[in-house]
Symmetry: C2
Subunit: 331 residues, 2 copies
């Protein structure tokens, strides 16, 4: 059955429990012959070390905490995929902590500390800089390595993995301008996140370089542009290009415009961010900035393992490449 303990193994193999432990953790310190004998018994008994006991004794749980706000978002789920794959390679388990609106972030973080995780991955593109500092502080105080995934922070001490969102914002805007679009709008969110701030900065830079006024529209809901928004804001304005900070915003805007008789991409170019399945399933297909979310997850997990093993990590801030996937929604 499952209830074999290290004592059972030691007894059956005729060694002390210290030796069994060594076979598992420092096999090179055990004589080949003994090791084989112990391994055989382990196999026969189907022994698997109780990870809780091991965690208490060694002060290592081989578990990492993943902090997320909303699992439901496609990018978060995708990142989890990358994290989970790498974690499995390095034999780490994953504990999930989701922070809902009504929860006190600092309280949750203290819980995570009490959970004795070996490291923390903070997934969230909805953070502002001051929040980043708070998070950094609590984990540093408790000496828990952490990595921000898909978070933008200018603090050079903060380990993070992301893409260059400002550059991406600049490039996609530039593309619209190169296509001779003049009234390029950025569809952003009402709440301010550093990631979206960067996109906006890149957009504004491109517009200003072209001698144009940046025009940023903020949805009240975070994911969609609804008919109401469209009517009140856009119908009396000229708009020949729109960039959504998320694909879902871009697609919802495009759908409404088409319903309104606008031709895409002839009269209106539309592009989004993230290159999710929405971009592929929409008609016309949506041009989008491909953000390698799976890779961001995988690379940040990899970085975290390095940090947990206290190897001197040369580069704790990793910028992954992005690219524009051109589809039917732009010329």
């Amino acid at each position: 059955m499952s209830n074999a303990t290290i004592y059972d193994v030691a007894g059956a193999a005729g060694v002390s429990l210290a030796t069994v432990s060594r076979v598992l953790n420092n096999p090179e310190k055990v004589k080949e012959e003994t090791r084989q004998r112990v391994l055989k018994v382990i196999k026969e008994l189907g022994y698997r070390p109780n990870v809780i006991a091991r965690g208490l004794a060694s002060r290592k749980t081989t578990t990492v905490g993943i902090v997320i706000s909303d699992v439901t978002r496609a990018s978060v789920a995708e990142m989890l995929g990358g994290i989970s794959d790498i974690a499995h390679n390095y034999k780490y388990s994953i504990k999930l902590f989701s922070i809902r609106e009504d929860m006190d972030v600092m309280d949750v973080l203290k819980d995570i500390v009490a959970e004795q995780v070996d490291g923390v991955l903070y997934l969230n593109d909805e953070l502002n800089e001051s929040r980043v500092e708070e998070v950094k502080e609590i984990f540093q105080d408790n000496q828990i390595p952490f990595v921000f995934a898909n978070v933008v922070s200018d603090d050079p001490e903060v380990p993070m993995v992301s893409i260059d969102y400002e550059k991406a914002g600049y490039e996609i805007t530039k593309m619209m301008l190169d296509h001779h679009r003049k009234n390029v709008y950025l569809l952003s969110t009402a709440r301010r996140y550093s990631v979206n701030d960067k996109k906006e900065a890149g957009y504004s830079k491109a517009m200003q370089e072209a001698g144009l006024e940046p025009k940023i529209f903020r949805t009240s809901g975070d994911t969609h542009v609804n008919r109401q928004h469209f009517k009140t804001f856009f119908s009396d304005k000229k708009v020949d290009a729109a960039i959504g900070v998320r694909d879902s915003i871009a697609v919802s805007f495009m759908n409404i415009a088409i319903d309104d008789g606008v031709k895409v991409p002839k009269d209106l170019s539309v592009a989004g961010f993230q290159n999710t399945k929405y971009a592929l399933l929409s008609r016309p297909n949506l041009t989008s900035i491909d953000v390698p979310v799976y890779d961001i997850g995988a690379v940040s997990m990899r970085l975290l393992t390095k940090l947990m093993n206290a190897k001197d990590v040369d580069n704790i801030r990793i910028i992954l490449p992005h690219y524009i996937v051109k589809r039917q929604s732009t010329i």
Copy 2:
């Protein structure tokens, strides 16, 4: 800092560590006055019990294991949302175990047992009955309560939460037939899952009742119908209605049909399963069976807490209601 232990609290409050432990776990056994004193110290020191030590001593980790195959799928992420909300209410932590194609399922399950979780939620609509039996056996042997979420099994001993997929398949097919469609196809997956088997059964039943031949098309990939499929399979056939076992299959089929000049819903009615965001963002909007995935997650987590507390649970097999959301893709 964070390193206060139960000893520190006991010392500062002038009681034994047993009393501190009681304040936390059986407060009613401690005199009001003493309790207040201890609680005050706990607060001052910012003490949080080390959950690992507690887990070892009490043999309860207040952690549940969640087994999933692919986090990336919208329904899985949504279920995780429901699970996480309820888990938080009951103070359970969540450990995530994802099983990839190349992994040995039984091996992962044994790992989960070694992780000492108090219970397991198995999320997967891609199981067949024999796999269900294996899973059931390993957890029963180790006396770990478990619940299948969004899994269909006819074994009355298996705790599960799902909808009646057969009924749903029947109803949506019936709707098509009521709209005088004759050539109703079911777009299913190549691999056989019990959930899809049920949908197929419901579909076939409705077709047969109408004196029609069931026509099931199986995609080679699991999520999309591609142009190739369409050309080789459908272009020479009459088809006036199609039901996808997933929204993504339905939308991809619909898109290709439209590209081919077919009018939806006039010439072709299309419907999907799951009522995901794809259904909303597609044009025309997709009619879909709403599967309450969030609720399935939440209810299954709730059921699991009951099982873990060994209350006599009267109903271990819960069928949640579903309904058809009618949109533009059907008449």
